[in-house]
């Protein structure tokens, strides 16, 4: 049934130029994800995983095809509307944490709420709750440089879901962590996925991470070559 899918992609193509070379990163991808599902996207380096994630989240434009997120076609929106949509409905977790080094943990977490016009006091309240949920209440006023890798990634996760988005995009969320911390982070992501029924699209090289997902999609040369429901 169509209404089960929060993400629907048909014939998605993405090409870009690197110098004089035209690179076809996505060569006609068809993909769909259900609400509350955790999907792992795997594949060798350069196969188009991150490009797919960027196109789906509206960070990047598409060359051809259709992307529908919760019934909305992002590529038809203006940049402002798309950005607004991202702020209200999406969260991001990146491999290198991508926190603003000049902001404290709580300030980093409240930023997406502030741009979504949530009042500063409510943003602060919700950010502190999110940090408490990832076990970092005591680190709220510390800057990223003062935190360990695992703690930083927890802050990123808190930032991603504090605004209660419907979809969370995670690009190699454990790529920079040791195995023990990586496991803890995946535990956290899985817990949040189950608790909040948010859709998680996780790009990863790690089989351990992928094994925690509901579904594994494998890519090669800009195409989905395998789609396994676990």
């Amino acid at each position: 049934m169509q209404e089960d899918y929060i993400i629907q992609v048909r014939g998605l193509r993405k090409a870009y130029r690197t110098g004089t070379v035209k690179v076809e990163a996505l060569k006609g991808v068809d993909f769909a994800a259900r609400r509350g599902e955790m999907v792992a996207i795997m594949g060798p380096s350069g196969c188009g995983k991150t490009t797919l994630l960027n196109c789906l989240s509206g960070l990047d434009s598409v060359s051809a095809g259709q992307v529908e997120i919760d019934g909305v076609q992002l590529q038809r929106m203006s940049d402002n509307k798309r950005t607004e949509y991202r702020a209200r409905h999406m969260g991001f977790v990146f491999q290198l944490y991508n926190l603003l080094p000049v902001l404290s943990s709580v300030e980093n977490v409240e930023l997406p709420m502030l741009v979504s016009d949530v009042s500063p006091s409510e943003s602060r309240q919700r950010a502190l709750e999110a940090l408490a949920l990832v076990g970092l209440s005591d680190e709220a006023n510390r800057r990223p440089a003062e935190l360990s890798g695992g703690q930083r990634q927890r802050v990123t996760i808190a930032r991603a879901f504090a605004n209660q988005p419907t979809i969370i995009w995670a690009d190699e969320p454990t790529g920079d962590l040791d195995s023990e911390t990586a496991k803890a982070i995946m535990d956290l992501l899985c817990h949040l996925n189950k608790a909040n029924q948010q859709t998680f699209i996780v790009v990863t090289h790690s089989h351990e991470v992928a094994a925690r997902a509901d579904r594994i999609v494998k890519m090669r040369d800009g195409l989905i070559v395998e789609d396994n429901q676990l």
């Binding site: 990047d60 950005t83 930023l111 741009v115 009042s119």
Partner: protein
Amino acid sequence: MTEFFFVPMNLIALVALIAFAVVMGWLLSVALRNRIIFKLGVRNPRRRPAQTALIVFGLMLSTLVITSALGVGDTLAYTLKSMAVRDLGHTDEGISAATLNDDGKLTTPRFDYSRFERLRAQLEGYNKIDGLAPAITGRSLVVNLTARQNEPGIQLFAPDPDHLSGFGLMKNQQGQSVSLSDLGPDEVYLDRRAADRLDAHPGDDLLLSTVGNSLAVRLKSIVKGTSAGANSVVLMPLSRAQEFLQWGDQINAIYVSNKGGPLEGVEHSDEVTARLEDLLAGTGLEVDTIKQDRLRSAGLAGNAIATIFAFLGVFSIAAGVLLIFLIFAMLSAARKPEIGMARAVGMKRRQLVHMFLFEGTAYDLCAALVGVLLGMAVSVATASIIVGVLASAWPDIAFDLVYHFETSSMILAFVVGTLVTFITISLSSWKLSQLNIVRAIRDIPEPPLTRVGYQRPLVAISLLVLGLLLLLASLAIERASLLYLGFSLGITSVALLLRWLGLRERLVFSLAGIALVIWSLFFVSSLESVLGDMSLGIEVFFFSGLMMVLGSVWIVVYNLNLLLLVFAAVLGRIRGIVPALTTAVAHASSSRLGTGLTIAMFALVVFILTFMSVTIGASAPLFEDADLPSGGYDIVGIVPTSRPIEDISSVMGNATVLNTRDILAVGSLSTLSSLTSFHRVRQSGVASTKWKKYPVLGADDVFLDTNTFEFTTTAQGYESAADVWLAIRENPGYAVITADAVPSRSLSSMSRADSALLLEGPYRDDEVMSPVELDLQGGNMTLTIIGVIEPMNLNRGIYTSQNTLEQGLSLPVIPTTYLFKVADGVDAEATAHAIESEFFAYGMEARSIDEILEEESEIYFAISSLLQGFVALGLVVGIAALGVISVRAVIERRHEIGVLRAIGFKQRTVQLSFLLESSIVALLGIFIGVVLALLLSYQVVEFMKTEAEGLEFHIPWAQTLATAAAVWGASLLMTYLPSREASKIDPAEALRYE
């Protein structure tokens, strides 16, 4: 410029040149030994031309400021010198009888032609003189009957045409040589300036008029190259002038031309003067080194102008140095990964420093060259404006602006500019070489220093020693600025030592900042009690400005988070602005160095601009209160000595145009000699025995009764100004003097010409003075100075009674200046016109004091605006710094912008964040600058009131707000383009290249 902050310029130039040669020689030798490193260093400027242009622009500002200060001084000095040479031609010295005859009695300054012949015979065979011309010279009223124009101040110059060889050739407008011998019996020449003033053309009928004599003549030609020593000259042969003046065979001057041309001759001036003085000893004739004096005065004037510009430029130079440091800090940050890689593959620290030095020096040399060229352009514009203002103020003087740059000045500016930059580059290079290789490759910020190295205590102890030396020096040479600097350095060194001992950085520097600000304000507010006998120069205000800015920036930078809370609280109420404000505030407070340096740049320049606005504005009332400089009179009327008014009451009694009921009083001042208002005076009982030229004015009883001049100091026993004036009236020989000839204990004046009169003993800021005795040349006359008139006097000079002059000198004195006091409600300007009409027959020029003051205030404010414009050049530095920071920030934060865009920052929010960040920095700098300037200028105005009563402190709100708005606007404009570029960054692309 002869000295800068007490250090002789020659020494600065010598040290700078040696340092420059050493640095360049060392760099060359390193380059020859390490050609690869050299090539690696110098390729960068070529690889990134846009960045190179930006860096060169930033680096050249200090050199530009130095060059323009020196260039303006050079041009003005050269202009005044060439005007002297133009007016004097081949004339180097003048011989006159002054006011002494053979018997040692004062008389009219004429002497027999035979004196000249005797001297000529005595100089036979003397090869340092190539011309000796007897002449009559003096002021004359000239009326152009054809054009119906008259001018009272035309110089009559009548040399003997038979003795003009050696004085060059006079030429007419067609460029043909002309001679006085060519003139017919009723013909004269005029020089260009006199012809302009009289609107005269060849063939016009003129009337020359002096005391009791008139002569109708015709203008034959307009000439140049008169060697008369003045402009506005009417020329005729000596014999004709003797006839006209009924002087028989007498003359009043001998002109001397030294061997060589108009410029070279002056080199022999000392020798020739000594020789002439030998020959003239006991004859009553005196030698004036006219050209040498004028050239020296021109040099001093140029030096004074250059010094003022250099002083004002100090703030811009300081801001420029900070910009250089910032540019290289940014450059180092941008190169970190590249340099980390270089280190990883085997480049040594030393080689890294060399490479960076080569690159920096390439920028440095280009920047210094561009700075010199643009500085020359700025000084051309500045000098043109100054001369334009002066020319409109003194229409009688023909200003011929000649642009001139001394090679030594330009080399000095280039060398000093290069060295200032080089020192900063060296520090940056050394700092860069200390980086951690892995952190550099991964472009991870260096962690904050947890351990303080040996450098800090070393610097602290050096500063402490320097401070102590300055304190000792201040006691030895009694210079207040050294005391101030010594103590300020002490505060700074203690802060560094406390930090070294482990106290928290924030606490230490916040307290040191507060201490510096409080110490500076205390020092300036308690000058009189602090100083004692120390002298105070203008530099103390500059030093205190610099130190207060340093202190404030420390306070602000170490407490930025608290200050920024205020910004956040105020602006945070605007909902849409909150996310941008959060990131802007966070970035501004995270980069202490960049933010601190940029705040300091803005603060320095806004400080000096506001300080100037307040102090200039404070002096405005001086131009509004006509009573102060005029002694309570409303109109001044001047008649030429050739047309004295014998009985002004009778002229007034028969007035037809003037309503005499409008006039309450008419006082008069007489000049001593018929040819000049200056006289030679000498202070008794002091080491110097040199006669100095100074105006001596004889006041009539009405003036002594009715003037309202006050005194800065008087001799014991006088309770009021009226007592002093009464004493002058009743006691022959008593006199007072204007404040320009009396030193101040607190304010040291700029260097003066040797010939300027400056009394020894009294100080104008003391309450009581001991009477000073002055000899008037003429032998039998001593004046006792019993008071010093307050500054801001329109007529400087020694004021005594006309009776004193008449009785003491056995000479009739001639009133030439009449001062009219009008009734309340009477229009002074209209009355001045009526007076001119009434006294037309006497050639009186009458002007209302208000009109004169208005003209003077226009000049004052025009020059002040120009100086402010020059200072505002420094703002370019601050604004450029914001541009540099913004451009670099966009590059450095590319990835971060990607993240922000991903989590929901719209394009305009990203842009707003950048604009807010630069606004915070600019506004903090502006705020610090304005507040400190107001605090300091208040103290300065209060202090200066002792020198010039009437000064009023008020805040020039309109100008201050306009400056602040302009600076902020410019900083927004400078950040706009980089911020727009930042907002256009594609988030996917920015995130892709992590």
